[in-house]
Symmetry: C2
Subunit: 390 residues, 2 copies
DNA sequence: CTGAAAGCGCTTACAG
DNA sequence: CTGAAAGCGCTTACAG
C-alpha cells in the first residue's frame, strides 16, 4: 500500500514534455538513503558517513540534481534575492555602484534584483512593496523620498533596508554616502593651489541635496584659503593684502545636472563676455573666470563643449574640474580632472552593510571620502591682465 | 485534539523581536473562513460569495497581509523572477534595453534580476547556473558564447531562455536582434545621398559579429549605388562615368568600440594628411575623406574630438554618422546624426518573447530594423578640389 | 550517524 | 459556494 510515485491530485502544472526537475526525494531513492541525509550532504554537514556521502554525491551527479532555491527559501525563511532600487538605470554612477553591489552580493550567494524608481516617489513605493512581497532578504535603496515612509514600513515588516547615496541617519537603516562637501572642497583647494582666483561654480539645482552640500564645500575651501593667507608664515599684521589672495567666486546653478544645460549656460556666458562662436582663439576679458568647477562630470562635458565651440582652450585659457569620475571623464577631448567618487566601493559597502545589519550589527552610517584625480583639464591660470603688456 | 497554533519543532528562525508576517491562516482565522477561501479571494476568483469576500478583505487589510510569493512559487512551480544577463551594466545600450525589459516584465507581475556576464564565458556559465538554481521563470541572455552550450542545458532543464542582441536561430530559443547590415546600409545611403564619395568606415574589431555585419551593409550600399547610377534613367551604355559616381570607401577597423581608440586613430589620420593639432581651420587635402561612418556612437564621439582638436569643422569640413543613438548622441558638441537601434523596444520584445514561448508559441527570431536619425553632424560634402580656384 | 516526520505558506482538485 | 486535505521541495530537531 505504499504510494510510490503518487499522482498527486494537486500536482502543479509542468511544462508539457519537460522532464520534472529531480528533487531530494529522487536523489535519496537512488542513493538508498533518506532525504535528510541528502540534505545534510548538500549542506556540507561534516557528520555524514563517507560512504553515504559518496553514494549521495554519485546520485546527485547522475540525476543532475540542483537544489530548489525556492523551497529552501520557504523552509528557512531567508531568500537569496536582494532587491536594489536605484534612481536611474541609465546613470553611469548607479551602474558602477551596481557592479560593486553585485560582486559583494554574489560572494554570499545572493542574487541581485536591480530595478529603477525613475526618481519617482510613487514608483519607489510600488517597487518596495513588490520586493517585500517577494520576500527579499533585504533592499538596497536610493531614496527619492526624504520622508522614507515606505522604507520604514518595509523595515517594520522585518526586511532590512540600506540607504544608498543618502546621508540620512535614521535609527533603523544603515546608510552609505559620500562626503559631497569634502569633495567640493578638494576641487576648489586644487584650483586655488594652482593659482586660480576667479572661479565659477557650475552647480546643479539647489533643490537637490548634493548641490547644496557641494556649494557648502566650495565656500568652505574659499574661506579656509582666505584665513590661511591672512595668517601666513610672515607677520600677519604687516602683510599687505595681495590681489592674489582675493578669491572671486560665483555660483551658477543650472536647472539640471546635464551636459545640455551646462553647454547652453556657458555659451551664454561667453556671449555676454563678447566671445562669439568660432574656432579661432581670441583673448578672454580679464573678468572671465579662469576656472570652472562643475558639480558633475556631465556638466563639465557640456562646459567643455561650449568653451571649445568658442575657441577657448582647456586648460590653457580656462581650467575645468568635474565631479564623479564617470568612465567618460577620461575619454573627453581633454581628459577631465575630477573628484572621484569610489562608486564600486560604495556599492560594495552597501551590500556589506546589509549583511552586517542582518547579523545584528548596530546600524551604521558610512560616509566615504571622495578624492581628486588629476588629468589634463586643470592647469595654472593664464596671466590674462599682463598678456598684452609683456 | 486539534493542534491549534502548534509550536513546530522545526519552525524556521525568525528575526528576534520581529513579528511574524501574517499568513493565509491568520487571515482565515480572523475572517472565519477556510484558507482556501482566502486564497480564492486573493486570486480574484469570482465565485466567492460577496459576504465572505468582504470579511476576507477586511481581515487582509487589518493584518496587512501580503501573499508570500516564495510559497506561491513553490506551489505553482512558477517563479516571478526573470533573470537578465547582459554583457556589461555600464553600457548604455544594455541599460536602455533593460528599461524596456523591466517595463514588460512588471506588466506580468515579474521581477527582473539583472546581472552582468562581463562578456566572459565562464561568468556566463556560472550566472546561468545560479539563475537556474533560483528556479527563475526564464532568462534573457546576451550570449558571449556562440556555442550556447550552457544556455541549451538550461533550456533542457525546462527554463526558457531568450537570446538578446543575438541573430542566432537555434530551434529551442527565441532571439531578438537588430539588422546591423541594414543599419549600416542606411547610414551609407544617407551619406551617398548627401553627395559624399570619399568615405571612411571607422569599424570595430572584425572578430565581433556586429563589425562584420555592418561592414557588409556598408559594402552593399556602395555597390547598390554604383549599380543604380550605372543603370540610370538615361542610356546606360552611352553614359560617361562621372567622377561623382565613383565611391572611394575605406574601412578602418579599430581594436575596440571605444572613443579613445577612435580618437587616437583619427588623430593619426590627420597627422598623416599633414594636419596638425590646433584650433585654426586649415584646408584638408582633397584625398581626405569627406565623411566618416562610425560603427557606434562612442567611436563617433572619439572621431569628433580628434577632428575638432585639429580645427576640422563638423559637418562643414567632414560629416560624421554614428550607430546606436545612445543618450549622449544628442548631447555631443555637434548633435550626432546616427542609426538608431530601438533599444527599449528590443528589451520589451525580448521579455515578450519569453512569455510567448512559455505559452507554447513557436520559437521565433525577431530582427528589428534600425532607423536613421538626422541631427547636425552630417551635411553635403565641401567642394574641396574647387575651393582654391573658385 | 541516520531515518521519519513535521512544517514553511501557499493553491487546487474534490466532496459536499 | 466552501472546507478539508494534499502536496510543492526543502530543512531540522528528535529519536534511535
Amino acid at each position: 500500500m505504499t504510494a510510490s510515485r503518487p499522482t498527486s491530485p494537486a500536482s502543479p502544472p509542468t511544462a508539457s514534455g519537460t522532464a520534472r526537475r529531480p528533487s531530494v526525494k529522487d536523489v535519496a531513492r537512488l542513493a538508498g538513503v533518506s532525504v535528510g541525509t541528502v540534505s545534510n550532504v548538500v549542506n556540507g554537514r561534516t557528520f555524514v558517513r563517507a560512504e553515504a556521502r559518496e553514494r549521495v554525491e554519485a546520485a546527485i551527479a547522475e540525476l543532475g540534481f540542483v537544489r530548489n532555491a525556492t523551497a529552501k527559501a520557504l523552509r528557512t525563511g531567508v531568500s537569496p534575492l536582494v532587491g536594489v532600487a536605484v534612481l536611474d538605470l541609465a546613470n553611469p554612477f548607479f551602474m558602477e555602484a551596481a557592479t560593486g553591489m553585485e560582486r559583494r552580493l554574489n560572494q554570499d550567494g545572493c542574487v541581485m534584483a536591480l530595478s529603477s524608481t525613475h526618481s519617482d516617489v510613487e514608483e519607489e513605493a510600488r517597487l518596495l512593496h513588490a520586493l517585500a512581497g517577494q520576500g527579499v532578504r533585504g533592499i538596497l535603496l536610493t531614496p527619492s523620498d526624504t520622508a522614507l515612509t515606505v522604507a520604514h514600513e518595509v523595515v517594520g515588516r522585518g526586511i532590512p533596508v540600506v540607504l544608498f547615496d543618502s546621508p540620512a541617519t535614521p535609527p533603523d537603516m544603515p546608510s552609505i554616502s559620500v562626503d559631497d562637501q569634502k569633495g567640493a572642497e578638494l576641487a576648489l583647494t586644487h584650483l586655488l593651489g594652482l593659482g586660480h582666483r576667479r572661479i565659477a561654480f557650475l552647480n546643479g539645482p539647489r533643490r537637490v541635496r548634493q548641490a547644496r552640500d557641494r556649494l557648502a564645500g566650495v565656500r568652505r575651501a574659499v574661506s579656509l584659503a582666505a584665513r590661511r593667507s591672512a595668517g601666513g608664515a610672515g607677520r600677519p599684521a604687516s602683510r599687505r593684502p595681495s590681489p592674489n589672495d582675493r578669491v572671486d567666486l560665483v555660483e551658477i546653478p543650472l536647472e539640471s545636472f546635464t551636459a545640455n544645460a551646462a553647454r547652453d549656460r556657458v555659451h551664454q556666458l561667453l556671449l555676454d563676455a563678447g566671445i562669439h562662436a568660432g574656432p579661432a582663439p581670441r583673448p578672454l576679458p580679464a573678468s572671465f573666470p579662469t576656472a570652472f568647477f562643475c558639480a558633475n562630470d556631465l556638466i563639465a562635458f557640456g562646459a567643455m563643449t561650449a568653451l571649445r565651440d568658442a575657441g577657448v582652450r582647456v586648460p590653457t585659457d580656462v581650467s575645468l574640474v568635474g565631479f564623479d569620475d564617470i568612465p567618460m571623464a577620461s575619454e573627453m577631448s581633454v581628459p577631465l580632472t575630477t573628484i572621484r567618487q569610489p562608486m564600486e566601493e560604495l556599492g560594495w559597502a552597501a551590500a556589506e552593510a546589509l549583511f552586517a545589519t542582518a547579523d545584528g550589527a548596530p546600524v551604521g552610517h558610512r560616509k566615504f571620502l571622495p578624492s581628486l584625480v588629476e588629468r589634463a583639464s586643470a592647469a595654472p591660470p593664464p596671466d590674462r591682465p599682463d598678456q598684452s603688456g609683456r
